[in-house]
Amino acid sequence: MNTYKESLIDGLERLLADPKVFLLGEDVEDPYGGAYTITKGMSTRMPGKVLNTPMSEQGFTGLGVGMALAGYKPIVEIMFGDFSTLIMDQILNHASKFVEGFEKRLHLVVRDPMGGYRGYGATHSQSLEKLYVGLPHIAVITPSVLHAPGELLVKSMELGVPVIFAENKLDYTRKMFAAEKIAEAFEIKYHGGDFPVAEAGFPGEEPEVTLIGYGGLVHPLLQMMYDLYMEEEVAVRLLDVSSLSPMDFDLLYSLVKDDAKVLTIEEGHVPFGIGDAIISNLAQRGMRCQFRSVGAKQHIIGTSKEAEALALPQIDDIKELILNW
């Protein structure tokens, strides 16, 4: 698959071939085909399998939970990840409780497109993964241009717990990294099992800083790393995590334990976030190095480019931070 979107569509179609799988969401049917046209054509090709819902996120997520409780495998699409605040009750107070309380494997994936940098403003730009991480029996999976979304989607459906599948809206327009020209300068390794950590670095180079990130920022970070390496001769490596929750902190520790500088990067707000949790867990395992975390600042995400930049992390700032560290 050359592109993120192609991979995602392929994963969806593979899942939908199972009679127990249905995709439910707002405006997913033709002719609209979803807000990002991911499901375009699917309702025509597979009648009855891709279904428009009323604008009732709580209700149709609950519908998905019930389907899963009865042995079906629903894919629930939330149009903007921001709206996943509405579904918290069904995921946390229902689905996750049924897994342990009722000893049920629930096959349920909530597709939850996150991310900003598109001028969509405060309620259509957030990265809210952190609301769902760290909770028992909820998985948070983050594809990227290094982690094919279609592959992760198919595996997510087999986890047996409700999955928040945090796609990224800008990634819908991007190639998978292997198809990018700059990819040949990199060495990419994968560590771990079904939901691996991708390690991107430059062959034969000792990295000065290790970045730990995920999701939609992976693409611009890889470009930034390339620029730093080519223009400044600064080698940085990136660890791209595909399962935020549960996170394999032992694996991460084994990958960074000898490093001197670790920088976590997320699009969501920093305090009590993904980076903080990673740093805490590395420190608890005895790691002594310099830690920094970058993410959104304590502002709502404004619509103008300037206002958006006040809140969302900027690649130039990350570059400066690395160069001056």
Partner: protein
Amino acid sequence: MDNKEILYKMLLIRRMEQKIESLFSQGLLRGTTHCCIGEEAVPVALSVLIDMDKDYLCSGHRAHGLSMMMTGKPETLLGEIMGKPYGMAKGLGGSQHVYYKNYFTNGITGGMAPVTVGIAFALKHDGGDAIATVVFGDGAMNEGYVLESFNMAQSMGLPVLFILENNGYAMSTPIETVNPYTVFEDRVKGFALPYQRVEASDFDNLFAVLKDAVEKVRTERTPQFVEVMTHRFCGHSKSDKRAYIPQERDDYWHEHDCVKGVAAKLTPAEVEAIEAEVAQRVEEVYQYCVTH
């Protein structure tokens, strides 16, 4: 069910609930509980209308009666509340979070309504005549996703039976103080759901209405809604002294008590024999649970 069996089941629920309340007041049980004293009629009716081998039934926090009727084993309910490994949820769920076969309860008011609609979606695609039923109270009628569930069930045409037990109070809040009416007919019909209303006091009538609704959902594969007017003789939860319930309302419902209605169809000797049988069963359950 003949009247003796109906009375036995109603009394089993009531006396078990009274036992549970008494154990709580003695400090012998942990956590909280929500009893259904006065609301025994729906569980007893569903005990024969729902086929646990294929149908699904979901409910919320006030579900001891349903639990005992579905399992037929009150030990597994009391055991659950006591945290025993043989409890319905192995002691993990307590009073509110239990399951047995296709029967599930959870502690969020109204939250099982969309879940049940999802189950109905699955049952519709399975083919067959199994149905999904959800029982909730009038408090749940103001949770947004419950109303979303009505809309989805009707617009998607799913085999789900909604049973609203209207006991007049959302915890302590009288229904008329937070709604423009005291029955939900207009609201339900606003979702184009077929609606029937019945008082729990006349069990035969209640049973006929529920049976009709079950059969319609089973054969027509579309939703039905039954509002059951009922009353709670106990507090909302273990610590509730019911200061908000006027004496006249209690008086009315003592006259219209579902237990009284069934007992009136039997001889005093028959009623006494059933009371004795129930008392013995409750004691057996209690003894089992304190010794196992």
